[in-house]
């Protein structure tokens, strides 16, 4: 594994030396071995990401899989990005890692909400449907209504106007 990373690093270095000076692209040494907080945070994060991946495989339903992936990826992102930010402190790339983490914390709930909403409106089946509670009570029927509402955005179609005798444009 160490040899694979060495080959990757030398490829990147040789490609970048052609563009810039040589002394800029020598990789800085990241000291993670003595940084116990960064090690613990990275282990925490990769444990949670692995658990959420197992949940993606083992859960029986679209919504439970979304529960697994979205929440636990946000929780693992705390560990991975916090640990990477702590390890990048002597180099000075901490703010970029924190920017990626902030972006994940802003977008992961929105993505999960969009996927679950579209799955519900499409009428994808629930797991153990006779026991669970459907709060909207329109599983599958609201899909048709929402799709009709979304089709109103088409520019060639005019709805909601009074009949043509009252319209001033006629």
């Amino acid at each position: 594994m160490r040899r694979v990373f060495a080959v990757l690093a030398t490829l990147l270095a040789s490609a970048a030396v052609l563009a810039q000076e040589e002394e800029l692209m020598v990789p800085d040494v990241v000291q993670i071995e003595g940084n116990i907080f960064a090690e613990v945070l990275i282990l925490f994060g990769c444990f949670f990401i692995l658990v959420s991946a197992i949940g993606m495989v083992r859960f029986p339903d679209v919504y439970t899989r979304l529960h697994s992936s979205t929440k636990l990826v946000a929780l693992g992102g705390i560990g991975i990005f916090g640990g990477a930010a702590l390890a990048f402190l002597p180099i000075g790339a901490t703010e970029r890692v924190l920017l990626i983490g902030l972006f994940f914390f802003m977008t992961a709930p929105v993505a999960g909400y969009m996927i679950s909403r579209s799955s519900y409106l499409m009428g994808l089946p629930l797991y153990r449907e006779e026991v669970s509670i459907d709060a909207w009570g329109a599983h599958g029927e609201m899909a048709e209504a929402s799709m009709v509402e979304d089709d109103e955005d088409d520019p060639g179609e005019v709805r909601g106007l009074p009949p043509s005798g009252d319209s001033p444009a006629a």
Binding site: L66, V73, R96, I100, S119, M122
Partner: protein
Amino acid sequence: MVVSFALICIILSVLFAVWRIIRGPTWGDRVAGLDFLGVSLAVLIVLLALRTGFTAFLDAALIVSILGFVSTVALTRYRLARRIER
């Protein structure tokens, strides 16, 4: 050493996400798998930057995360507008 172990864990999770995308019985499973795959790949690139010492990988991680979010939102919106068949 810790970073190598974390890389092995993230690669396993990427393989699980790919399995879910291939196997997924419905449309929502595949989109959820794609979202999970995008987040896992961004985390993988951050760990590669930590492993090799190149801070240029962090920009690649930011681009991958932005593209994953935008593709997820676009897929769900277009499916709700019934422009993609099941």
